[in-house]
């Protein structure tokens, strides 16, 4: 989730632009010692019905000079997820692309581990992770899987509904007590073709276009669709910004959307929104400790589908449809 990085990042970038414009003075580049090898793990526990059990993926990588470190990780790397009650589940190494979209050994140095958790790892329970390497390094952390929740609008979990073009609606769900935030993503298909008549630049638009929505705190259980999605991409490239402006008035005919809402725990939020400002790059707040750093986050995820079109008995009209504000 990018909850801490949107507006603050923009403000910081604007400040730096203002600042660097008159100075325009680069300092001489000097060579420094390489960084230490630091082990990193990005572990996520996901509870996403109808899957019968919570699943975990762990992507193990390291600081950029740590290829040697990574080579020594497998096959003796041991990663266990321990559910409440003590049931242990060892994760197995799987191809990196299971963890990372479009991964390849050249571009994505790191190793991926995955597996299902014990039956007792359910929403509201604590899961602990233990990672040990053959050379004795270890990482540990714990997460509490957010409480279960249900999407209640514009249609129930796992269902599909239809909306007329150029309308807005509310994606709503029940509370997941204790969740720190509800990140949401909508994958918009057919958007390039739908918007192309408005501007030839849309030829360059991603399709599907994945846009991000966010509700912060466990009590904020609503995001207006699609106008409140893409909030961090408003400051990205020209064509995406233009597309998001079009979405302020609803979806165009020919677009369909899959909307996923997640209840996210503390660790997930801390890692994604980042910490102190530093000019050298983004800083993250970790939840794994030991001989390295990283995150053990957890989410409960629900999905609905929205299509633009006329309702049918199989795909009813979405609830809460409204006109965009004038």
């Amino acid at each position: 989730m990018r909850s801490g990085r949107g507006l603050p990042t923009f403000a910081r970038a604007a400040a730096l632009l203002l600042l660097l414009a008159p100075s325009a003075c680069e300092l001489t580049e000097v060579t420094i010692a390489d960084s230490e090898d630091v082990l990193l793990a990005e572990a996520y526990v996901v509870w996403a019905p109808p899957a019968p059990r919570a699943a975990a993926t762990v992507f193990v990588h390291g600081t950029l000079d740590a290829e040697g470190l990574l080579q020594g990780l497998s096959p003796d790397l041991l990663i266990e997820m321990i559910a409440e009650g003590g049931a242990r589940s060892a994760l197995l190494e799987v191809p990196a692309e299971v963890c990372v979209s479009g991964a390849s050994p050249e571009t994505t140095p790191g190793r991926c581990y995955a597996g299902a958790l014990a039956q007792s790892a359910r929403p509201g329970t604590r899961v602990t992770m233990e990672l040990e390497t053959v050379d004795g390094r270890s990482l540990t952390g714990a997460t509490v899987i957010p409480q279960d929740f249900a999407i209640v609008g514009p249609v129930a979990d796992g269902r599909t509904c239809r909306v007329p073009e150029n309308r807005l609606l509310d994606v709503m769900w029940t509370t997941s007590p204790g969740a720190w935030a509800y990140p949401s993503e909508a994958s918009l298909r057919g958007i390039r073709r739908a918007l192309l008549p408005k501007d030839p630049k849309f030829e360059l638009l991603d399709d599907p276009l994945v846009v991000f929505g966010l509700a912060i705190s466990d009590q904020d259980t609503i995001v207006s669709f699609p106008n409140e999605y893409g909030l961090f991409d408003r400051f990205s490239d020209d064509v995406t910004t233009k597309a998001l402006i079009e979405l302020q008035d609803g979806l165009q005919s020919g677009i369909s959307a899959t909307v996923t809402v997640a209840a996210a725990d503390r660790n997930y939020v801390n890692w994604q929104r980042g910490g102190n400002f530093n000019p050298s790059g983004l800083v993250r707040v970790p939840s794994l400790r030991g001989d390295g750093t990283g995150v053990l986050g957890s989410t409960v995820q629900k999905t609905v589908s929205i299509e633009v079109g006329i309702p049918t008995p199989a795909t009813p009209e979405c609830e809460g449809i409204r006109f965009p504000p004038v």
Partner: protein, 742 residues
Amino acid sequence: MFAASVQVRVPGRDVPIRTTETDRLGYFLVEDLSDGTYVLGVGRLGFVSMDVEVTIRSAARTDVVVRLEAAPIELEGVSVEAARSRERVRFEEEAGITSSELAGRDIKLIPGFAESDPLRAVEVLPGVISTSDFSAAFNVRGGSADQNLILLDGVPIFNPFHLAGFFSVFNADMLSRVELLAGGFPAEFGGRVSSVLDIESDAGTGDWRFNGGVSLLAARLAVGGGAPRAFNEKLGLSTTRWRISGRRSYFDKILKPAFNFPYHLSDLQGVVEAWMQGGSKLTVSGYAGADVVAFTELDEDDFPLKVDWDWGNRVIGANWTGPRPDGGSLEVRTGFSRFNTGLRFPDFDDVVFQSRIDLFSNGIDLESRPARHWTVKTGLKADRLVYRNRFASGGADFAGGANNGWLFGGYAQATWRDQRKWVVEAGVRADRWHPADGGAALELAPRVAVKRFLGAGNNTAVKFAVGRYSQFLHSVRDEELPIGIDIWVLSGRRAPHVVSNQVQAGVEGYLADGWFASVETYARSFDGVVTNNLAENPNDDVDDLLPGDGFSVGVDLFVRKSGPGASGWLAVSLLKAERTFPDFQSGLDPAPDLTYSPIFDRRVDIDLVVRRPLGWGVEGGFRWNLGTGLPYTRAVGSYAYYQPQLAEGGRLELGGAVDDEYAILLGPRNGDRYPTYHRLDISFRKPMRRSWGTLVPYLDVLNVYNRKNVLFYFFEYIQEPSTRSGVSMFPILPSIGIEVAF
């Protein structure tokens, strides 16, 4: 007349035996003179100085009325010793306070960014450091920037900066003096714990006067005059003076034919001073300024995202001061101050980026002299504070808060002066803060100061002061960013109030031939300071600020030479500051405490300021600043930045929404330091007198030898070998301008 210098001399001798200054009502008091005849020399810039012979008899009060006539003002080349007398008066009459004063002429000869800037000029005073060339904000004796109370004619002004901190809102043409009180404040001062910067508008002499100027930044004009006699008589006034000024940047206008420059600033400032027949005075002053960044006016192809951003201040204040028969005074004041900023995205109306703070301030002070050697001052104040901040987008509230409250304050202080041998001050201040959201707080702040004069002529003194100070608001601006806008919050449920215990001791003295020297040492504690909690729990609406504490110790040395010819000063400030906050960056719950050096922990800061006539009527100003390196947090490693996705398979994706493909690991918080900072600035001013007035072209050059002082380091581990690059602060930066006066 306010701030006129008064010297008491023995007839036939030039050296004064007493020096004082008229107070805000034009009154002055000289005690402990033996019977005899004396000469009173009274003077003020813009008026003809007068000598009056006075005969003193024991056990009798002698009243003297001196009326000065206005004289044509000479803007340049005039020795302005009168402007120093406030400091001298404080030296003679106050026990503990640390005061440094800059007259308008000082400010104009301290090279500025495009034009003279009173707040940047303050940086050259002892105990004051600036963390960046790009910001006019300053830190005093280990205090945060938000712990400086900046007063414009007695009314607090929040965030008084243009261009996100590049320079201040104060137009040097409109100011008569700037005084920094860096410590040892008596009980009458409240509201901030680190310093008071008192900026006074210049109401002029009552004659028509025009001042204008054009710099690379802006064009400005100030007009002053007086009310007609008939007007004064009708209202029962003896005299009325006023000045008003406007300033505006012009790049957006002159570049308009070529392209839309998206930024401009504007200021409007005015002051009216009316003297009643009975000797009382009413002053009304105001300021309004705005910065406007309008990206909506840019070509869509150049900048597709439409953004408007503005910020600015509104300040208005009124002050009535009346004399009392015992030589004291009664002062009643009221004022309103607002800072407001807003960011708007016309294409995305769900974006709210707003911050506002309002202060409605009222106060009354009574000064009386109940017995010889004794001055008693009491006062009450009632301030109403309101703030509202909100940062939201896409239906999500990222940060914000609102609160309001009343701050009631009262104080009593007594000063005992014994024939210029001792000055003893004792007082207590009580502040009660009633926030709407949060529990009330009462802070009792006792303050004691003692000064002992030494040596022949009593021109040297040792002094000691101890006191407790409190503050009920904070700025949550990240001070590690070199520029930015203060976002204010009030103490209450979300933030504690600040309590600072301070002790200081020093020696100071007026030496021969215009030399003054002082050395002071101090120690300060700060409880209740806050920092942003970037790991805050969104379900907990009171954990977005983390309370902490801090301390500072230091020594300030100040040596000044005034008088004709070369003048200037050397300020050496030694400081060690620390802050302790819960380390949210650890990710632990609860977060362990972390003690570190704050960004303003500059261990040694040296300022050398010299102004000197250079021949051909040119006045030269020279400022050299050296500061040991400021702390920073070093990146010690870098790793690929992965962003978890929910849609499209729910896998990690390289790079985030802002396309940063690498994140960093940090070393110890502020565990490294940048290299030593040093910079030489020079200023040349050439007053040219013409029959219609005076023309002053000037040239300022900042960073004459183009020192590349480090603003930021960038550590890059994504290449082989790893490198450290960065950007510097100001390069050599010449600027020219011209001023006119008639």
